[in-house]
């Protein structure tokens, strides 16, 4: 008997790729044109070494970095690891020692040949402690102190790109594009606290080892407000634009072709243990019981989010469905009644600081305060960091957003602990899902981190964009899309010059 193992993909594709059916005669793909992309992030870094695991900005950075750099391996939609810069690989029985043979003849965008030293230097900077990366004949060797059966999942995701550092500190890649122009974020003169949207223009790498991309340029505008992104898409100023979760419904109603990924962002609460009077066990438990995640996901986020009961999502760990977060106001009130009068959350409000940017997260913070009040707990929401120029006072509770970067649940859990549980030395040395489950359960039972909702990524895709085949976990694969001029009559004007789709100006801009 044989089994359908990739129905996962089919189901995900059917569920998350809510693309409008576009009737079009089969036609060969077209080369040329400029793909206009609008992202919400106000700035990105194309240096993977700078990325902070879990940060929202790392999501946009990774999307753009994948235009410029390649990884050793990729994960395809059928759960198979595919050769990329590594043509083949092998490992010992324990999974500690791995050898990767580099593909021959791969060149960086400046024509330089990819060498084992480049791969070693990149991976030494990105893989982190616990790995010894050394050059080997025609490739690299990676050794770990403990079995890393998930190494390929790590190498296929996150910041594990291969690059070459130039003498001036900029990075070169072997990917399908290179950076032609980059306009840095600059303050708006009339309002120094605001920022102009930054622009990054990527140009097709004619000599890309994986094949020249179809479009000539990818023109990326950063820092677009959510509603503006949607409007740009509707009026043809953007071909692809991120859509904020709370605008997805509006976009769908207005006929925008919308794609969504698996949940990539966790919104959660974190108690600050560094305060002089940290929250008591009872307070943490009471707040956990008071949270109404279903309402947050279904009303506040209009069913475009999922209630979260775990740190890792089901699609990544496979065991998240074992966790439950039952709302129990009665029990929460009983716990509250046992507080001493001066305890945080009783007479003295517990300050909740919203660490994630944007109005949506502020609204979620306010919803937390409402839930808390229903259990007679006092929670006061502090302004989001970006909306206030004054120093933000210490808070006992933080609302934060965590972006899942890695396809390895072990790596993700480890990064989560490193970033959010400072001082807790809890390396996750196992890839055994049962051990991961035990560690995650222990963390959740402490009630120091309270998951709220899981958010997918959403993007609007115009009808003139063909072969849009993003992965379920959010890789946009822009090198494979092509534009149909006949469906995109607009002439594009950008700060880099005026050009018409299909006959782009060839800018020989500085390479990264």
């Amino acid at each position: 008997m044989r089994f359908t193992r990739s129905r996962w993909l089919a189901a995900i594709s059917a569920a998350v790729v809510a693309l409008a059916c576009v009737s079009a005669q089969a036609a060969p793909p077209r080369y040329g044109g400029t793909l206009h992309v609008k992202l919400r992030a106000s700035s990105v870094s194309l240096d993977p070494r700078e990325w902070i695991p879990g940060s929202l900005s790392s999501s946009a950075s990774e999307k753009l970095a994948s235009l410029v750099y390649d990884r050793l391996v990729t994960l395809d939609d059928r759960a198979r690891f595919q050769p990329a810069l590594a043509a083949e690989w092998s490992h010992d029985a324990a999974g500690r020692n791995w050898q990767f043979r580099l593909r021959s003849g791969v060149r960086f965008s400046d024509g330089g040949v990819l060498t084992p030293a480049d791969a070693v230097a990149s991976l030494q900077a990105t893989l982190g402690k616990g790995f010894e990366v050394t050059p080997a004949e025609n490739g690299v060797t990676i050794r770990a102190a403990h079995p890393v059966s998930d190494l390929l999942a790590q190498l296929a995701s996150g910041r594990n790109f291969i690059f070459r550092v130039q003498p001036d500190g900029t990075l070169l890649g072997t990917g399908p594009f290179f950076v032609a122009e980059s306009v840095a974020v600059a303050p708006v003169e009339a309002n120094p606290s605001a920022t102009k949207p930054a622009k990054v223009k990527f140009q097709a790498n004619e000599g890309a080892w994986s094949g020249r991309p179809f479009v000539d340029f990818v023109d990326v505008t950063l820092g677009e407000p959510p509603l503006r992104q949607l409007l740009d898409l509707q009026v043809g100023k953007a071909d692809i634009a991120e859509i904020a979760p709370d605008l997805v419904r509006k976009g769908r109603l207005e006929g925008v072709r919308i794609w969504s990924s698996l949940p990539r962002t966790l919104v959660a609460l974190r108690f600050d243990d560094g305060l002089a009077s940290p929250a008591s066990d009872q307070l943490r438990e009471a707040l956990w019981l008071a949270l109404d995640r279903d309402t947050m996901a279904n009303v506040l986020l209009q069913r475009e989010a999922q209630p979260a009961d775990s740190l890792l999502p089901q699609w990544l760990s496979g065991y998240a469905s074992l966790f439950e977060s039952p709302m129990n106001l009665q029990r929460a009130r009983e716990l509250r009644a046992a507080f001493s009068a001066g305890a945080p959350g009783a007479a003295q409000p517990l300050r909740l600081r919203v660490d994630a940017p944007g109005d949506l997260f502020k609204l979620m913070g306010e919803r937390v305060a409402v839930n808390a009040r229903q259990a007679n707990l006092l929670v006061q929401v502090a302004l989001p960091l970006s909306a206030s120029n004054s120093p933000v006072p210490a808070a006992g509770l933080h609302l934060f957003a965590w972006h899942y970067d890695s396809l390895s649940p072990r790596t993700e859990l480890e990064d989560f602990l490193k970033q959010l549980r400072e001082g807790t030395n809890l390396p996750v040395n196992t890839t055994d899902p049962e051990q991961l489950f035990v560690q995650e359960r222990r963390l959740l039972e402490e009630r120091r981190i309270l998951p709220l909702v899981l958010l997918p990524e959403y993007a609007g895709v115009r009808a003139n964009v063909h072969n849009w085949n993003a992965s379920a976990w959010g890789d946009w694969r822009l090198a494979d899309v092509w534009l149909d001029d006949s469906e995109d009559p607009m002439t594009t004007k950008t700060p880099m010059g005026t050009q018409k789709n299909g006959s782009p100006a060839r800018n020989q801009g500085a390479r990264p």
Binding site: R2, T4, L19, A79, L152, R212, W315, P433, D480
Partner: protein
């Protein structure tokens, strides 16, 4: 050392072999043959994974049967698939003296099945005394090969004759009868490879076009043809020629800019009705990679929207079509959204449908 790179491609499917062996038999008979169970490495892997879980469950202190097995698969697990896993779980648990029952009052043993991007995760959860016990095992998804999707009854007779996990760019029937087979183009590990398969599906010849220093391309279009024994591959802006007997002597010419896409590809594929000799045309519409696609076969000269069209839905986007040896047949290449594999179908226009 365990070699993992370039994961072995399933170059020859059992379907293909069966097809050619039984090509003289009726297509319906072949359909039945295809659905016969075939022991694969999957069975071993599934059993090993389940055995590991059963061992861990059986070792839970204080756990005694009989238990009521509750199956909680992710939504994407099919009933048949889940049933098979459950059957193995039952057998493996009972081997370890953990009896199972349908009694609703018996303690539950919840079994969860989930797929992550890289793994299949099996979780058993039960309650012993006042504590929850959880046991979890996993297996790499890539080690479990996909199933061929069931062939739905259609008005066009349709038969999947070959599948490959690598992208199939084009396919061509070669020879006839016992000497017949397929020639096809694969895009594998960023190289275009031409394969010639014999009537049993075995690879007779393989020629890599990288021998001609061909640049990789994202353009999935390539067409294979044979003229006077010389094989010709038409690519975007380039033509390569080779002989099966001389795989190292691939010659390519006519290269233009990589962006100069070929504007004209293979023309319409026409079928001749075995009933009255009338001409029917294959109309392949749509090009989105995430959609099932309906192939239309319309009477010659009619518009695609004609009511007379014969429709056949494929399990994913149609990559290409080509003529077959018989005038009432054609080859259709599609990518299955279920398995992700590229599949070659032989479609045949039949009377009386």
């Amino acid at each position: 050392m365990q070699f993992c790179g370039k994961t072995g491609s399933k170059t020859i499917s059992k379907h293909f072999r069966l097809f050619w062996i039984l090509s003289s038999a009726a297509a319906w008979v072949m359909n039945c043959c295809f659905s016969l169970p075939a022991m694969t490495d999957d069975d071993v892997l599934v059993r090993e994974t389940v055995q590991k879980l059963a061992e861990r469950v059986a070792a839970i202190p204080g756990l005694h049967g009989p238990l009521r097995l509750e199956w909680h698969p992710d939504a994407n697990w099919s009933e048949g698939e889940g049933g098979h896993w459950q059957g193995i779980v039952r057998a493996e648990l009972e081997k370890r003296a953990l009896s199972l029952t349908e009694d609703a009052g018996a303690p539950a043993l919840d079994l969860f099945a989930a797929e992550t991007p890289a793994q299949v995760v099996l979780t058993a959860k039960t309650r012993v005394a006042d504590r929850n016990e959880v046991r979890i095992v996993s297996v790499a998804r890539a080690l479990l090969s996909p199933i061929s999707p069931p062939v739905a009854p259609v008005r066009l007779e349709r038969q999947m004759i070959y599948e490959n996990e690598n992208r199939i760019l084009d396919a061509l029937s070669v020879g006839s009868g016992a000497e017949g087979g397929l020639a096809l183009l694969l895009y594998k590990n960023f190289e275009i490879v031409a394969l010639r398969l014999d009537s049993k599906g075995a690879v007779r010849d393989s020629v890599s076009l990288s021998a001609a220093n061909l640049k990789p391309s994202r353009d999935p279009h390539a067409e294979l043809s044979v003229r006077a024994g010389l094989n010709s591959v038409q690519l975007s802006g380039k033509v390569c020629e080779f002989l099966w007997e001389a795989p190292a002597e691939v010659k390519c010419h006519g290269e233009r800019s990589a962006s100069a896409a070929k504007s004209e590809w293979r023309g319409d594929v026409l079928l001749a009705s075995p009933c009255d000799g009338s001409t029917w045309k294959l109309v392949n519409s749509g090009s989105e990679p995430n959609a099932r696609q309906v192939l239309q076969v319309v009477p010659g000269g009619a518009l695609p929207e004609t009511n007379a069209a014969v429709l056949s839905e494929f399990p994913g986007p149609i990559i290409g079509t080509n003529r077959e040896r018989n005038p009432d047949s054609a080859l259709v290449i599609a990518r299955s959204l279920r398995s992700g594999n590229y599949e070659i179908y032989k479609i045949t226009l039949a009377c009386g449908n």
